[in-house]
């Protein structure tokens, strides 16, 4: 098991502001690491750099020994990096099933004009089993816009999973969820983390401490400290800038 992703001095400047500054980060294949940090620390920007949605000002992103820093977003997606967004980003007026199915189809075909989409059984079955996994099988024919916030968050993960990623980036998957829903999502993350590398951005320390093997703290765009959840919890500097009253 080698390194699946590595960033070297990754920097993103927006005008004069360094949203992400010289972040060197790496994650092993099959691992689950978390990134925490106060609002505006650059966590979401860091994700957008990895997925190619925005381009780095400096530094490098290496995915499985390949430099992907300058690759377009679609190419990075096809290499096997998927993201589940913080601000829910689904296909609102398609059915729940179609949301997942069309994502799964992205691995097979785009410009097929002659066959019927639903005749591709393997995609249909794959989508159904993902819906089963994220617990939305009963709602598969519902219009996605009608889902509750919690269900949408899980559909968001389902869309990401349907593209068969090797590396999954989860951006605050439990934001705004009730405690039972959070529990459900933690269990889901644990389940999918078998055989999948995950980077998790989270605010809820309980979630971070429970699932991750290593925690990275970002602060004003820079890497503040890295360590095991236990080390982070006891780190004085982290307590000062971030955890404060939370833990």
């Amino acid at each position: 098991m080698g390194e699946i992703l590595k960033t070297v001095n990754l920097t993103k400047n927006f005008g004069g502001l360094a949203a992400v500054e010289k972040v060197s980060f790496s994650i092993q294949e099959g691992d689950l690491q978390s990134i925490i940090g106060p609002n505006g620390a650059g966590k979401s920007t860091f994700f957008k750099l990895i997925t190619g949605e925005i381009k780095a000002s400096e530094g490098q992103i290496i995915f499985r020994d390949q430099d992907i820093t300058a690759l377009p977003q679609t190419a990075i997606s096809h290499l096997g990096i998927a993201v589940s967004y913080q601000i829910t980003n689904i296909f609102p007026f398609l059915t729940v099933f179609e949301n997942v199915r069309v994502a799964a189809q992205s691995r097979k075909t785009t410009f097929n004009l002659w066959s019927k989409a639903l005749s591709h059984r393997e995609l249909v079955n794959q989508s159904l089993s993902i819906l089963e996994l994220i617990g939305l099988a009963d709602l598969k024919d519902e219009t996605a816009a009608n889902l509750s916030h919690g269900d949408r968050k899980r559909l968001e993960i389902g869309i990401a999973l349907a593209t068969k990623p090797k590396l999954l980036l989860l951006d605050e998957p439990t934001a705004g969820l009730s405690p039972p829903e959070t529990r459900q999502t933690i269990d889901l993350i644990k389940k999918i983390s078998e055989g999948l590398t995950i980077i998790l951005v989270e605010h809820k320390m309980k979630v971070v401490m429970e699932v991750s093997s290593k925690v990275t703290v970002l602060y004003y765009g820079s890497l503040l400290v890295q360590g095991t959840p236990e080390e982070i919890r006891n780190n004085e500097e982290v307590k000062r800038v971030y955890l404060g009253g939370v833990c």
């Binding site: 980003n89 689904i90 398609l94 785009t110 410009f111 004009l113 002659w114 869309i159």
Partner: protein, 331 residues
């Protein structure tokens, strides 16, 4: 109540099987309108609106320059029949291809922009095409239009058929409308058709799933241009003449009006829109010269009070119990 449920069942049937309904309805259609030429006009413009709807309704691109593809299709058929080869099949095929090629070229230049910028670019290029046709008098007849398109008989398996009686011509056009409907239906149900709708719903998410959404929109634009070109070719045969205003931006506006009036994102909507528009034009035009004013008022009221269009509103009312959101389902 009994009556209402009958009505509901009909609307549900049409929603679910729009093709069957269109097939049967359009066979009796010329016998229930005031005169047969109006029926022909309605299905030609309906076909154009259907092609336009691939852009607006299914992919979410508002093109303000579809007159270009319709008009170029019309001129192509006309010029081919006058100068090249008096073969109707080839004339219409050429219109389809030229509409597609023009959309391929202009689409390449417009497709990277979205929303209002896309609309303005398509409008600008369409006006460019208009002025080229206006100036190129030798080929297009310029301001006078392209006249004397020959009434070539149709060759079918060695038989020569006169298609220029109103009823024969209607069914000749209907044949192409059916073919186009079948093709579009196939495309919309294909994997590509599903991607189109994903792009309409959320372009950014589709890209993050790995779809090259620019190319997807581009191909949709080309298909839309080709269908519009075919409709233009039929229009040239119908009039034996192509007026320069076919390429003018008022034509682009008219097709947007028809599509919005009928309801976008369905098979039925564009035909209803074309039908209502042309029927009103016909009725109001007999009463007053300023029929456009009345049509404009009706259009404004429709957009204000029935934003889902006529068909969208009928469908919503009839399926209200099921709480379907507008424009959700495929056709």
């Amino acid at each position: 109540m009994e009556n209402q449920s009958w009505w509901r069942r009909l609307v549900t049937f049409i929603s679910n099987y729009p093709l069957y309904f269109i097939f049967f309805f359009f066979i009796i259609f010329p016998f229930i309108v005031p005169y047969k030429a109006l029926a022909t006009q309605i299905i030609i413009w309906g076909l154009f609106a259907l092609g336009f709807n691939i852009c607006l309704g299914y992919t979410g691109m508002l093109s303000f320059g579809h007159a270009a593809y319709f008009g170029v299709g019309a001129y192509t058929t006309g010029v081919v029949l006058i100068r090249l080869w008096t073969n109707i099949w080839f004339g219409l095929f050429a219109a389809l291809v030229m509409g597609g090629i023009l959309a391929l070229v202009l689409g390449f230049l417009c497709i990277k922009r979205k929303g209002i910028y896309f609309a303005m670019l398509t409008l600008a290029f369409a006006q460019l095409v208009y002025f080229v046709a206006f100036q190129w008098v030798d080929l297009t007849g310029g301001d006078n239009g392209l006249r004397n398109i020959p009434a070539v008989p149709l060759n079918l398996f060695g038989y020569s058929i006169n298609i220029y009686s109103p009823l024969n011509f209607y069914f000749f056009v209907l044949f192409f409308v059916f073919l186009s409907l079948l093709a579009i239906n196939l495309i919309l149900q294909s994997p590509f058709g599903h991607v189109l709708q994903a792009v309409r719903e959320n372009d950014q998410r589709a890209r993050s799933c790995g779809y090259e959404t620019t190319n997807v929109r581009w191909l949709a634009f080309v298909i839309s241009g080709a269908i519009s070109g075919l409709a233009g070719g039929l229009y040239a045969l119908y009039l034996h003449f192509v007026g320069i205003e076919t390429l003018y931006y008022s034509t682009s506006g008219q097709i947007i009006m028809m599509t919005l009036l009928g309801g976008m994102g369905s098979f039925i909507g564009p035909f209803i829109g074309a039908g209502v528009f042309l029927y009103l034009e016909d009725v109001l035009g007999n009463i007053t010269q300023s029929w456009m004013i009345f049509l404009g008022v009706i259009f404004v009221l429709c957009v204000l009070f029935f934003p889902a269009g006529i068909w969208g509103t009928i469908r919503d009312i009839s399926t209200r119990e099921k709480k379907e959101l507008p424009a959700t389902s495929v056709p």
